[in-house]
Amino acid sequence: MNGILGSDLLIEITYIIATALFILSLMWMSTPATARRGVFAGEFGMALAIAGTLLHHGIVDYKLILIALVLGTIIGIPLGKVQMTAVPQRTALSHTFGALCVTLVGTAEFYLPREVPMPRFMMAVLCMEVILGALTITGSLMAAGKLQEWLPQRPITYKGQNLVNLGLLGVAIVVAVILVMHPERTQLFPAIVAIPLVFGVMMIVPIGGADMPTVISLLNSYAGLSAAAMGFVLNSKLLIIAGALDGASGFILSMNMSKAMNRSFSNVLFGAFGQEQTSAAGAAEAKPVRSATAEEAAAILSAANKVVIVPGYGMAVAQAQHKVRELYDGLTKRGVDVKFGIHPVAGRMPGHMNVLLAEADIPYDKLLDMDEINGDFPQTDVALIIGANDVTNPAARNEPSSPIYGMPILDVDKARTVMVIKRGMGAGFAGIENPLYFLDKTLMLFGDAKGFVGNVVRELGGGGH
């Protein structure tokens, strides 16, 4: 008896330390200087918690645990080694795994034989755990599929979609309530797994590529919340806290993302942007634009004092970040002050651009977010836009009729010269014409981002003016 009590105490202690380490881990994540320490703290906390759990006296089958741990590690290693451009889909996929774990545990808990029926509170959180978990499984899988381009990125909408989706969720909640009231009706349980699974698919179907940052964050939040709910079911403070941290982090990120797009949550989830506006775009083609060659662009860039590069998803698609680094090096060597202006929703997940540019060895203190860089544009000689569109659209500032009116943007139009590398005159994700392209100070550089930047770099290097 004594030994058992002793190990319980030990487990409790490892959990408390692990919890503290997790919180420290997130605190250290606040700046790049300490962030790696944060990862170590997290790893250490995790190892402690797992070791502590293995001491649990009820455990009889170590072999099964070991096999599962090893298998998970084998799957996990390649997932930790994906290309940086594939990080958004990897993240979505890991939400799927996290949610799968929680849902399975919830399901198993539900079917565990017990002497007394499950208390109502426990049943309620268990239902919440399973509903959130199940919708995150399929939702994240869909998101990953769209990001990997296995599924079409364009939103798919139909009449009454929102009604169907809300209806599905409503039914799941009603079933959950019935289960809480009558825990003996176990035959209802499969419904609260199955319905959210369907809902997860339906929820992501109408969501387009550019809304992914918000959606991934939201799914992150759901995964965290379902883990926290699981913590309540298992009465584990460690789990509640870790889940709540994850839930809060996902929630904050999705708030940031929606704010950066000037849209509410419900608007992202139920809005299916990009359908109605397509008609407005067509008229644009006829207007005159000024274009320039790589040689001219290189000459202008090397004559500048201050250059701000604005990267967007197009840069990621073209894998142009390493060429952009060469451009950065070439210009810096000539004494040009080069900075990067990064919009919160640039790319396919929060912070996506920063990771890509950091991968290309661009120092992080040159990567500035929207609020930091916007004041600089009036003193900037050249704003070079690579594969970004809507986030630079001045219509968001001064055209109340524009669908993106009110969205905070990078004020590139305040720079003395604007250069836009773009494949053609097509409209951006939102299908909105960008008046920026028709300004007198704007030069359109038509071409593939990687190829064009490469040409500019060659001109800079070999020109010898």
Partner: protein, 86 residues
């Protein structure tokens, strides 16, 4: 509740620069759900619980390993201006 509050305070301070690694880190931390799965699989109360628990361990462990690995990889890439290439 307290945890959520701490979470808000702590995460609000994180720079947008690190949002992607933050998300992969919280993902890894979230996989602490493995604790529940280990108990389920280990206690072996019913066959169903053991099987579901084992699958749950696999999926959570892949998140732990993959999540920490990639977070660290990403963070290693963030270098200040002064630093020379590694």
């Amino acid at each position: 509740m307290l945890a959520a509050f701490i979470g808000f305070v702590v995460i609000k301070r994180i720079t947008p620069l690190l949002h992607t690694p933050l998300m992969s880190l919280t993902n890894a931390l979230d996989a602490i759900a493995v604790v529940g799965a280990i108990i389920l699989a280990g206690e072996h109360k019913t066959k169903l619980a053991a099987i579901l628990g084992a699958i749950a361990i696999v999926s959570a462990t892949s998140n732990i390993v993959g999540g920490f690995l990639i977070t660290d990889r990403m963070l290693r890439m963030f270098k200040p201006s002064g630093a020379k290439k590694a």
